[in-house]
């Protein structure tokens, strides 16, 4: 599953719900379809909820990576 190259990263660990998803959404809007975004988020609520919101927006989630420092990176392909 490592067959992707990240085009852009966004860090949403400095904001709280619901701004977490808004910040991720804005970052996705700046990409072209097919490009890959890595979204760094906190454990807990963000990682429980942001993936689902990204799915509901119609983007493709490729992977969720444990960064080992209490944060996670969601790898998303813009659709």
């Amino acid at each position: 599953m490592a067959d992707y190259a990240v085009d852009q990263t966004v860090d949403i660990t400095d904001v709280v719900c619901p701004v977490t998803f808004v910040k991720a959404k804005v970052a996705l809007e700046e990409l072209d379809a097919g490009q890959i975004l890595s979204i760094r988020m906190n454990d807990g609520e963000p990682v429980q909820n942001v993936p689902r919101s990204v799915k509901e927006e119609g983007h493709k989630i490729l992977k969720l990576l444990d960064n080992g420092d209490g944060t996670w990176s969601l790898i998303v392909r813009k659709e």
Binding site: M1, Q48, K60, L62, L64
Partner: protein, 288 residues
């Protein structure tokens, strides 16, 4: 109005006596918390014409129009009915059936709450029992409608199934699950069934739809949040079909009618008869 006023009959019909002499707060029938714009206009007009121009929203999604006058009761009733607004009930019977918006509106919802609330209401609303009896329907484990406050609470859930061929082992569901029921091993997602509460979050979050969810009803019995406070208890696993749900609900009302002393809430009757006895009787109807 030469005869003595039958306050009890008025109350049963939704006219609640106010502190102010000969004034009544009229309870309307609302199902599942939904009213149409037309109904709201009718309610507003009646409140302006016969009341003091305000309405009260009750804690259980009801609407009451205060300051209805004794002499206006018949015209109030007929104007409301013309505008498609039935009046409510009070007293020892099945009350307003409440519901959240459920899966037709809310992204978290697992079941259609409103049609179920309507069915429950059509079947039971106003039925006489030893004491008041409340049903509430909530769409998922977020429990916005507080299912366990009700004599019978219904909570939507999913029975889940994993499709190996669609799973990319991305790990999203493992984090989405709040009960830690999921983990990823070498080549599969492992479900600890004992920890799963049927919340459906794995289904909703899985990017490849590898988790499938079949909607079902999680039922709680004996909740009451008035003078006495007790949380309803679940005694079955999730129920998959409406037929079973209504058999169980029928059975619960029969149990109540049979075991209750007059003026006793469902919870007290179950506590007195014993939860094991209740469970045994419910299991009989559950299996049909």
């Amino acid at each position: 109005m030469a005869d003595a006023v039958d306050y009890k009959a008025l109350k049963n019909g939704g006219f609640m006596r106010q502190k102010q002499k000969d004034n009544f707060s009229l309870r309307l029938k609302v199902v599942g918390g939904n009213l149409t714009a037309e109904q709201l206009i009718t309610i507003a007009n009646v409140s302006k014409k016969y009341g003091d121009g305000h309405v009260h929203l009750t804690s259980r999604q009801g609407v009451e129009i205060p300051f209805m006058k004794l002499g206006d009761i018949d015209s109030v009733k007929s104007e409301l009915l013309e505008g498609g607004v039935p009046t409510g009930v009070c007293g020892p019977r099945v009350r307003t059936v409440t519901a959240c918006q459920g899966d037709q509106i809310c992204p978290s919802g697992c079941i259609e709450t409103y049609p179920l609330a309507v069915e429950i209401s059509e079947r039971y609303f106003g039925r006489e029992l030893p004491h008041k009896f409340k049903f509430g329907v909530t769409g998922c484990q977020n429990n916005c409608l507080k299912a366990e406050e009700n004599d019978i609470g219904v909570k939507g859930g999913y029975q889940i199934r994993w499709d190996k061929t669609l799973c990319t082992l991305c790990g999203v569901c493992v984090k989405a699950c709040r009960t830690n029921a999921l983990s990823v091993s070498e080549d599969r997602v492992v479900l600890d069934e004992g920890e799963c509460n049927n919340c459906g979050r794995c289904v909703k979050s899985c990017p490849t739809d590898a988790w499938k969810g079949e909607p079902g009803y999680i039922i709680s019995f004996g909740g009451t949040f008035g003078n006495m406070i007790a949380k309803g208890n679940e005694i079955f696993p999730i129920i998959k079909d409406k037929g079973t749900f209504f058999r169980v609900a029928d059975g619960a009302l029969e149990f109540f009618a049979k075991h209750a002393k007059p003026g006793e809430r469902f919870r007290v009757s179950i506590d007195r008869a014993g939860w094991d006895v209740f469970k045994e009787e419910m299991e009989k109807v559950y299996h049909g």
